[in-house]
Symmetry: C2
Subunit: 228 residues, 2 copies
C-alpha cells in the first residue's frame, strides 16, 4: 500500500470481487484518497455500474468516474457473448470443459485495455497505484486475471522513465469464497452488487458467474441477498 | 509477416513513421488485407487523422477505422501538453536536456492504451498481428517506443490461452531519416502527412516533432513538401 498519500485508483465494476476490494483498501492507512474508476464497455450487465457507484460511495471514495468506452462493444462483439448484441450468454452447464480456459464470456484483451487506461489516469494525476479485483480461481479461467499477467503488465509499466504506476491485485491468489468471507467481515452490503452476465431484472442463477457467486456464498455458509 | 492471410491491423496516425509503415507492410505478400486503425485521443493535432485516412486509402487498406477515445483528453490533460486544453507545446530549444527522456509532449501511457485496444480488435476478428510505427531514435525519448517495451508488451499478450496477438514494430531500430528514405522509395506522398504538435494551419517548424521531421528530410537530401 502506498504511503505517499497522493491517492490511489481502484477499479470497481460493481461485482463481488471489486466491491470487497474497494472496502478492503479503504481500511488501509495512508492511501491518500480512493479514486474509483468504472468502465462502460458495452457489457450486457451495465446495471453493475449502479452497484459500482453505491460501493464507491459506501467505501468513502473521494471520486467515482465512469469511463464510457462503449464504442468498443460493436468492435469486439464477435469475440464475446458478454457484449450487448453478441451471442447469448450460455449456462455454465452448457459450456464444454475444453472451453473453460478461455470461455465465451471472455472479452478480448479487456483487462489490459482497462488497466492501461487506469494507469494513464493515475500517472496524469500523480498517483502511483492502481488496484483491481483479479482473482485467479474463477470457475472459468481468464488469462488476464492471473498472477503472471499482473507481473508481466507491471514489467511493461516499470519502463516508465519518471514515475512508474504499479498494478496491485491483492486478491489474485484468493478464492471467491475467501473474498466473500472478507466482505462480510468488512461489512460490505452484497445486496448492492451485481454479477449476472445476462443483465436482466433478476439474476439468472445459471450463467457462469451466477453459479460461481452462489457457490462462494454457500461455501462460507451465508445467504446471497440478491434476488434470483 | 503473417502468412495466415486473415488480415493485419496497422495503426496509422498520419505522421511520417506510420504513413511509411502502412505502405511498407502493404508491399509484403500474404498479409490478407490491411485494417487501418487511428485514434482520436483529444490530440491538438487531430488534423493528422485526415492524413491517416489518405494514407490508409493510398496503401490499399480494406478498411480504416477512427476510434474516438477523446473522452480521455480531459482526464489526462494534466499529464501532457499534447492534449487540447493543456499547457502550450514548447519549442524544442526550450526543453531542458534533463526532460528529454520523458518530455512534456509525452502522453501518459498512450501507446499501451492504443495497442491494447488494437490487439483486442485484432483478436475479436481473428487477426494475429498489429503493426505500429515505433522508432526508438526520436529526438525525444519515449519509453513506450522502445524495443524493450515491444518485447514486454508481447510477453503480456503471449499469455492468451487461445490465439495470442503479436505487436510488430519493424521500424523500432530505424532512425527517422531512414524511414523518410524508405518512404521516398515506396512512393509515399509526404504532402499528406502531418507531424506538428501545435496543430495550426501550417506546421510551426520549431516544436520538437517539426525539428525532428525537418532534420530527417535534410539528412536524406530531400525537401519536405508540407508548408511551414
Amino acid at each position: 500500500m502506498s504511503t505517499h498519500g497522493q491517492g490511489i485508483v481502484v477499479l470497481v465494476s460493481g461485482g463481488v470481487d471489486s466491491s470487497v476490494l474497494v472496502h478492503y483498501v479503504a481500511r488501509e492507512p495512508g492511501h491518500g484518497g480512493i479514486h474509483a474508476v468504472s468502465f462502460n464497455y458495452g457489457q450486457r450487465h451495465s446495471r453493475e455500474l449502479v452497484c459500482a457507484a453505491y460501493q464507491a460511495k459506501a467505501a468513502g471514495a473521494v471520486e467515482h468516474k465512469i469511463l464510457d468506452i462503449s464504442f468498443l462493444g460493436p468492435l469486439l462483439r464477435e469475440g464475446s457473448v458478454l457484449l450487448a448484441g453478441g451471442n447469448a450468454v450460455p449456462d455454465l452447464k452448457d459450456v464444454p470443459d475444453r472451453e473453460r480456459t478461455q470461455p465465451p464470456t471472455y472479452v478480448p484483451n479487456r483487462n489490459m485495455m482497462l488497466l492501461s487506461m487506469a494507469a494513464a489516469y493515475a500517472e496524469a494525476h500523480g498517483m502511483r497505484e492502481v488496484y483491481y479485483g483479479a482473482q485467479a480461481q474463477d470457475e472459468y479461467g481468464y488469462w488476464d486475471c492471473t498472477r503472471e499477467f499482473l507481473e508481466r503488465i507491471n514489467a511493461v509499466l516499470a519502463l516508465n522513465r519518471k514515475e512508474a504506476v504499479q498494478i496491485c491485485a491483492p486478491f489474485v491468489d484468493k478464492s471467491k469464497a475467501e473474498i466473500v468471507g472478507m466482505g462480510f467481515e468488512l461489512g460490505v452490503d452484497f445486496s448492492h452488487t451485481w454479477s449476472c452476465y445476462r443483465g436482466e431484472e433478476t439474476a439468472c442463477g445459471t450463467c457462469p458467474t451466477c453459479v460461481e457467486r452462489l457457490n462462494a456464498f454457500k461455501a462460507v455458509g451465508m445467504e446471497d441477498p440478491i434476488e434470483y
